[in-house]
């Protein structure tokens, strides 16, 4: 059997599963007209199977799940999830130790929430403009090109993971190295931010070929 990867083989009549607990717990009177219609539709139409990554937990975060999936090797999600949780705990411990040792006036500037640090670090690592190779007259030129949001997020996560896998000492573990890189990226330092700046400079240097882009 061929499993569909990109385009869904479901009949269009199938509806998406609803995971949020709040929408199920609303009493009948509070529903608006559209929501009542939606509920009647759900009683009749079939519903798609919920993927294993979809969770109703209040602590689930789509960015963290995407990052965990990218870190996963040969389908070992258990290991990837445990590495991610150890990373978040390591970030929290480092920041809390700094927090407790800092004097009173500096305490507000130190961010202790590992999720805030993760999101901000990823945002800092995202490039604004990328390069794409276009062949004209036998020669390939690197043309500066705008990137979509998905591509930016993917590039940031990919750079972080490759940086942590390659440039570390043989004995350091992934959570420790990742937490180090995330804290550096949070304060706009570190090798991943440098890589983003190098890409921006290359795009600026190749400005002359920007007219090769036709989209």
């Amino acid at each position: 059997r061929i499993m569909p990867v990109r385009w869904s083989r479901y009949n269009p009549s199938y509806l998406e599963p609803e995971v949020k607990t709040e929408s199920h717990q609303k009493p009948l009177e509070e529903l608006t007209e559209e929501e009542k219609e939606q509920m009647d539709l759900k009683a009749v139409r079939p519903i798609k199977a919920a993927p294993a990554t979809l969770s109703s937990s209040v602590f689930s975060d789509p960015m963290i799940s995407k990052f965990t999936n990218m870190m996963m090797k040969s389908g070992n999600k258990v290991l990837a999830k445990s590495l991610m949780s150890q990373t978040l705990e390591a970030i929290k411990r480092k920041q809390l130790e700094k927090y407790h040792k800092a004097p009173e006036n500096e305490k507000e500037t130190i961010e202790c929430n590992p999720y805030v640090i993760f999101h901000q670090a990823l945002k800092n690592c995202q490039p604004i403009i990328g390069l794409s190779s276009i062949t004209r007259g036998g020669k390939t030129y690197q043309v500066p090109v705008p990137l979509t949001d998905n591509r930016k997020r993917f590039l940031a996560m990919k750079w972080l993971i490759t940086e942590c896998r390659e440039n570390k000492h043989r004995r350091t573990l992934m959570p420790e190295k990742l937490s180090q890189e995330l804290l550096l990226a949070f304060s706009n330092e570190g090798p991943v931010i440098k890589k983003k700046h190098v890409l921006h400079k290359m795009a600026e240097a190749n400005r002359a070929y920007a007219h090769f882009r036709w989209w």
Binding site: V58, F59, L88, K92, H100, Y115
Partner: protein, 382 residues
Amino acid sequence: QLDRGCALHTAARGGLSSVCSQDVPAERPRAVFHTSESDPAKHTEQHEGRLYNIPLEEVKAVFPHGLPYRFQQQIRTFNEARVMVRRPALELLACLKGSNLAHPAVRYVIYGERGTGKTMTLCHVVHYCSRQGWLVLHIPDAHLWVKNCKELLQSSYKKDRLDQPLQASVWLKNFKSSNERFLQEIKTQKKYMWGKQESTEEGRPLGEVVEQGLARVRSASDAVGVVLRELKQQSHRGSFRLLVAVDGVNALWGRTSLRKEDKSPVSPEELTLVHNLRKMVRNDWSGGAIVTTLSQTGSLFRPSLAYTPQELLGKEGFDALDPFVPIPVPNYSPKEFESCYGYYLERKWLQHEKAHTEDGKAELQFLSGSNPRQLDRLAGPL
């Protein structure tokens, strides 16, 4: 500091002049799940579910080894050591307070499912005894003595026994740092020969035996045996009270994962450390108590869901430890869960925004099943 207790406390609740009136939350909501009573002797049922503070210098003096690794990390992060007062520990303390030291030593076995707080209960009792001035013989994990041993020497004392110099010297170092005072006062009662030239005369302080064991690592296991023997013989005199605290006592009667040079398996009797410890855990001496913990997590060749004494000790161990006082340790009660959750919130350990809500708390309680270890693991990344 650790002053010597003068009289035995009685277990009568009315007799204790408790300072519980101080704990009534007056100034800050912090006091609801904390208690300012840092002396375990004064803990009663009013303090159940509350966390008490151990000053960091005392932690270094009383627990050179023996605290779980996650708890040590927590002490480093929060800069304080807070232990929860729970009902099994209170029962044990009441039994110890009311025990008659002229009778043979009573054995207590703390058992429970994985991650319910057996080692922390043991540490609470060890803290109480060191506060009362007892001599504490704390073996942090007996499983470390029966597995992963790099060096096994043949014992010079008995032909068919095997020595473990590394484990013995590590334990002697920690024992010395926690019981310095006693080592000067207790004197040996027999002359001991270490090899052909060195010997310890009769009447020398026990500290010399420990020094000998640390200096000559080859005879460290024999030094441990000598220390245990002397303490057992002299405890009935009443000059000091002895507490034998063993974590993971089921290691003494199971199987080992060690092999001799001809690849034949080693049984626990053939190890000097285990042999001497088995003699210590027998109740043929008086003047103290024996508190032990069963542990499946480090045990060898035992099913992972086993937690009762019968399953973990096997027939041989059960017969050796019988009769004992069993002390089951359950998961957190709702009140204990509330106080643990409140402590994490107050120390800023739970950073996720949703963790402060009711939904987050309900989810944590459901996912962990009120198991202390699961709650700690779940609250780590949050």
